[in-house]
């Protein structure tokens, strides 16, 4: 894999929110088909990373670079990043009453197809696809008619995020604490959905506080994020190590790099 081109390359990224620096020199390289887990204590900057990569207002990049598929991601508007293949599954998806889930999904898919120069999908064909996606993530089809995430439970919101991912077929998916608030059954549904989308040309960054999710979504690499930097990287076994030790050691010991790569 090491010879293939990178899908995502983050170099020495520094970013801040409301003038408070959160990301402090982050490097990450993700190749097509890889699954990277980013773990770390609360406040390490895990969610911030997703927001910065997606170009959320108020999150400013001070220095460093982010390339997605050899394009400068930081130069793009949020919607263009999505069209370039970036997908962020939110920890707390927003509720939008009045905009139906179906309308929202169709607008998203239409926008991305248009950006790729593809013909618009007919409403009938799209409805078929959306229903199939509902089934795959175990959401009743009636949810397509409801307002976006309106009155959905925590688990239903997460499955709705996953459904969007199935329909949008992104190149890079960032799952931001997708496991939080899920019981074990819901977790399995989500993990199965993610696993079904794993392919040689699609990569994942799984951001999580707990090791539990990684029992179901096996990562190729695990990184520990602390105080805005990746302080340790390893294979899937690192997650188990973290589970056993917790994150307390981060505050006590100076960082060692021997596991890098």
């Amino acid at each position: 894999m090491s010879n293939t081109k990178s899908l995502l390359t983050i170099k020495d990224l520094h970013a801040s929110v409301e003038e408070k620096q959160i990301i402090k020199g982050l490097d990450l390289d993700v190749k097509p088909g890889e699954v990277h887990a980013i773990m770390g204590p609360n406040g390490a900057g895990k969610s911030t990373l997703g927001y910065v990569l997606s170009g959320r207002d108020g999150y400013s990049v001070e220095s460093g670079s982010v390339m997605l598929d050899e394009e400068d991601l930081l130069e793009m508007e949020t919607e263009d990043r999505a069209r370039a293949g970036l997908f962020l599954a939110f920890q707390y998806p927003v509720e939008i009453p009045g905009v139906s889930n179906l309308e929202f999904l169709k607008a998203s898919v239409d926008a991305q197809r248009e950006a790729r120069g593809e013909d618009a999908i007919t409403s009938a064909d799209f409805l078929k696809e959306a229903k199939a996606a509902c089934k795959q993530v175990n959401l009743p089809v009636a949810f397509l008619k409801r307002g976006v995430n309106e009155g959905f439970s925590g688990g239903e919101k997460k499955r709705n995020e996953l459904m969007q991912m199935l329909l949008l077929k992104p190149k890079l998916c960032i799952l931001d604490e997708t496991d939080s608030g899920l019981d074990i059954d819901a977790l399995q549904v989500v993990a199965e959905g993610v696993n079904s989308q794993r392919s040689a040309d699609r990569s994942f960054i799984v951001v999580t506080h707990y090791q539990r999710l990684l029992d179901y979504i096996k990562p190729d690499f695990v990184h520990v994020l602390s105080d805005g930097k990746i302080v340790k990287s390893g294979d899937a076994s690192l997650a188990l190590e973290l589970e056993a030790q917790g994150y307390a050691w981060l505050q006590k010991e100076p960082v060692e790099d021997e596991l890098e790569g």
């Binding site: 919607e79 997908f87 962020l88 939110f90 939008i96 009045g98 309308e103 607008a107 926008a111 307002g147």
Partner: protein, 419 residues
């Protein structure tokens, strides 16, 4: 006093019919009513110049107009053309237990009852309500017998041709345990002037589903009201959709005259150009255990102006009242204007009453969320703005009406967004 009002009074003095005592009373009150100016609180943001200089005239010759057809909606058509009741548009037979008649055609007993109900719900404070009392020629009386559920909605249409002046009036009585849907609609062409008032008496355990569409736009002047009197355990659900015009003013009054009554009012207005829409919604909780929920949403574009006055008055005896008033407004232009004023007057001590009024721009989080899925910022804005209104369309109980109005609102919306 304005010339317009003087001429209206003069014309009313020539009418002598079954409503004579009510008309005389209205004229007496009008004689002592000052023509509203900017200093008149109820008309502060709604200047009456368009009425003062109107060229609209009563057209007495018959004009053939029919209401717009709405797909999937079959209704009992109660049509006024230029203020004249067109009984030919009524179906030949009405459902059992429903009667629709010109007041003048009622027998003496029915007429006496209609007379006592006339202007008993609509408050006297409304100057154009008084004008309507005095000038509405063809007063139509609708009644639903006890326990009867009328499945077909009644659509009351006021149709105006270019340059017409019209005054329409309907009295609706729902007897105990009955059920009825009424749609009020105004379709006016060009410069025209209309006053349209409907009073609803909703007896114990009766249920009214109500709609009022004011989609006239342009140089039409429309002043009117829908007034509801709720008895024990009566229920009403009202939806108002307004597009504004040179002058559009609507007053609603909901009176909880019985206990455990339940009122819902959802109003939405979308204004463009130099349009004005003024909604004065008053709720009187006179009795205990009543419930009111009001949602008023408004979007103003260009140089349009919206006025909302939402008054909830909870009387001393109206303990255990639940009342909620929510008013949200969206400004699409720096030159558009929203004047909103919630007024709560609470004299009972064991009530739950909440109100909120916000004037806001778009929800940034929702905008970001849509963008992260590839939807452009501008398209996302349109979707969210439409969603703001669509939420209330989704609550309309009549699916045919919701499906009819949704694309109309969407189209209007697209026009508003262009500027």
């Amino acid at each position: 006093m304005s010339e317009w009002l003087e001429s209206a009074i003069a014309r009313a003095q020539g009418i002598n019919d079954w409503l004579a005592p009510k008309r005389a009373h209205a004229l007496e009150l009008l004689a002592n009513t000052k023509w509203p100016t900017r200093k008149t609180e109820a008309w502060r943001y709604t200047p009456l110049r368009p009425i003062e200089r109107t060229q609209a005239k009563v057209i007495s010759e018959k004009v053939a107009l029919t209401p717009v057809s709405i797909a999937d909606l079959s209704a009992i058509e109660l049509v006024f053309v230029n203020g004249q009741f067109d009984s030919a548009q009524l179906p030949e037979t009405l459902p059992e237990g429903l009667s629709i008649s010109l007041g003048g055609d009622l027998d003496a007993a029915e007429q006496a009852e209609a007379l006592s109900g006339f202007s008993a719900i609509k408050p006297e404070r409304h100057i154009f309500g008084l004008v309507n009392d005095a000038l509405a020629q063809d007063v139509v009386v609708v009644s639903v017998a006890e326990g009867v559920e009328v499945t077909l909605p009644i659509r009351i249409s006021s149709l105006l041709s270019q340059g017409a002046e019209s005054h329409t009036r309907v009295q609706v009585a729902l007897a105990t345990g009955s059920k009825l849907t009424v749609i009020e609609d105004l379709q006016a062409q060009g410069e025209s002037l209309n006053t349209a008032f409907v009073e609803y008496n909703i007896a114990a355990n009766a249920r009214l589903e109500h709609y009022r569409f004011a989609l006239q736009t342009g140089s039409n002047v429309a002043v009117g009201g829908s007034h509801f009197n709720l008895h024990d355990h009566a229920k009403m659900n009202s939806t108002i959709v307004g597009f504004g015009s040179e002058l559009s003013r609507l007053d609603t009054d909901i009176i909880h005259a019985g206990e455990f009554a339940d009122a819902k009012l959802n109003a939405m207005y979308l204004l463009d150009g130099k349009e004005l829409f003024d909604l004065h919604a008053t709720v009187e909780h006179a009795m205990p255990n009543g419930k009111t929920e009001e949602n008023v949403r408004c979007i103003v574009a260009d140089r349009s102006r919206a006025v909302f006055n939402g008054r909830i008055h909870i009387h001393r005896d109206a303990q255990k009242t639940l009342a909620e008033l929510n008013n949200r407004n969206l400004l699409l232009s720096d030159k558009a204007e929203i004047n909103t004023k919630p007024e709560l007057e609470i004299y009972a001590d064991d009530v739950k009453c909440a109100h909120g009024a916000t004037v806001a721009q778009i929800d940034k989080q929702a905008l970001y969320y849509l963008q992260t899925r590839g939807v452009s910022r501008s398209k996302a804005q349109v979707m969210l703005n439409f969603g703001f209104i669509n939420e209330l369309i989704d609550l309309m109980p009549n699916a045919a009406l919701a499906e009819w109005i949704r694309p109309i609102i969407r189209e209007r919306f697209a026009q508003m967004e262009v500027k």
